[in-house]
Amino acid sequence: MNTLVKNILRFALLILVQVYVLDKIHLHQMVTPYLYFLFILWMPFRMKRSWQMLVAFALGFTLDSFRHHPGFHTAACVLIAYIRPFLVNLLIPQEGADTNYEEPSFKSMGGFLPYFIFIGVLTLIHHGWLFLLEAWQFGNVWYFILKTLLSTAVSLLLILITELLFSRKQSFRTNTA
């Protein structure tokens, strides 16, 4: 499938799952499961950095429109989209893996650990920034820290389940192709 079409479908699907499935689950007040930002984690390597940020802005803004209080998710999405390329450069195993593969996955990042660090750090940053922005109006440090950690754990679990359920076939691309 074309990369553009695939990403548009992914965008719509993740937003719908977030709004109509995950937001309806009331596990506990400390745990808010998030999955929609997986779209940002899965964005192609080759995409320009400024475009990554603009698309992340659109993603966050769409979710915020459903929540009727704009800004929170938009800010968190833009932040992880900005940090993502730095992490990719740091974690990519050998020279040129980001040109040989299309998007981040277990295979393209060279194993479970680098990829897990990649999603773990970005999830933590996303949740931390999001809850910090929300907590400015409530202000309770321990509540904030605990909520961030617990929500990150649940979101990571969701991401791993998604990875296992929908295996993305990533073929090795060479320059000649």
Partner: protein, 285 residues
């Protein structure tokens, strides 16, 4: 000049990041300014449409609960029927009927419109509902919303043509005043953003008598919600050491988890009250 362009090119990504981040935070802070914009109407209409499609499926699974609450509401209404009361014996006394039947409609103060909930959130820090009724069906900003058993739900904050958004009691900006049914002291409702259905009531002086299980009703001080609507029952009341007030936590009368139908309350006198208030404001300036 050339250096400036070089600088922008070199740090373009950082600058773009700061711009977008700044814009998001601007949106958070200036929420009310945004929600008056025309754009909000468009996005409400679009998200409302999608919400309604999903609600069609979800509604089916909640039929039983909806039915139960409607039966309960019906029972209350039956108990208010004229047939339940005996007329006074008028053979020995003369009663003058002072009610002019025809003009009752002219004195009507509140009007209730039913509305279906198409989206409802409880888990976020700022919760809201979306109703499938909008300006085309007489909904205006500032109208109050109650559930079928007259438990207060919130106030309309945003309307588009066919949909309206309700800021529920579980919203940090929600400031509805409530009063203790027993003593009549009034305070303000506040939600701490943690447990749904548990809200706090502030501003009740320590002199008041509060016990667990006491009823809190709406004060009727605002034009949106009439006096005497149920708000909740006190769960715990502790005297605050730092001030002269009680710290009261109460369970809301409306169960925010399973709202299906609500009533929007139109106050026919809202505009004339607002006109007077505006007049006073003008005089003060």
């Amino acid at each position: 000049m050339r250096n400036i362009f070089l600088f922008i090119r070199r740090y373009f990504n950082l600058l773009l990041f700061l711009c977008l981040q700044g814009f998001s935070i601007y949106l958070i802070v200036h929420y009310s300014r945004y929600h008056n914009a025309i754009f909000s109407g468009v996005s409400n209409q679009v998200t409302g449409k999608i919400n309604q499609q999903f609600n069609r499926v979800e509604y089916y699974f909640q039929l039983k609960r909806t039915n139960d609450s409607l039966v309960k509401a019906n029972a209350t209404l039956y108990n208010k029927l004229k047939a339940d009361f005996e007329l006074p014996d008028s053979t020995t006394h003369t009663f003058i009927d002072s009610l002019k039947i025809d003009s009752v409609e002219g004195y009507r103060k509140y009007n209730y419109y039913p509305a279906k909930v198409v989206y409802n959130s409880v888990a976020a820090q700022n919760n809201f509902l979306v109703l499938s009724r909008g300006t085309a069906q007489h909904v205006k900003i500032g109208m109050g919303v109650i559930d079928p058993n007259s438990g207060v739900v919130g106030v309309i904050t945003d309307v588009s043509k066919d949909y309206s958004v309700v800021m529920s009691l579980l919203h940090k900006d929600s400031r509805i005043s409530g009063k203790l049914l027993k003593g009549g002291e009034t305070g303000t409702l506040n939600w701490d953003g943690k447990t749904p259905n548990i809200i706090s009531l502030t501003g009740i002086p320590k002199g008041a008598k509060v016990a667990k299980g006491d009823t809190i009703i709406s004060s009727g001080f605002s034009t949106s919600i009439p006096i005497g609507m149920l708000i909740g029952r006190v769960e715990e009341a502790v005297p605050d050491k730092g001030s002269s007030n009680f710290l009261i936590k109460f369970r809301s009368a409306a169960n925010f988890y399973n709202l299906e139908y609500v009533y929007i309350i139109e106050n026919k006198q809202a505009e004339s009250i607002k006109a007077i208030l505006d007049n006073i404001k003008k005089k003060d300036q």
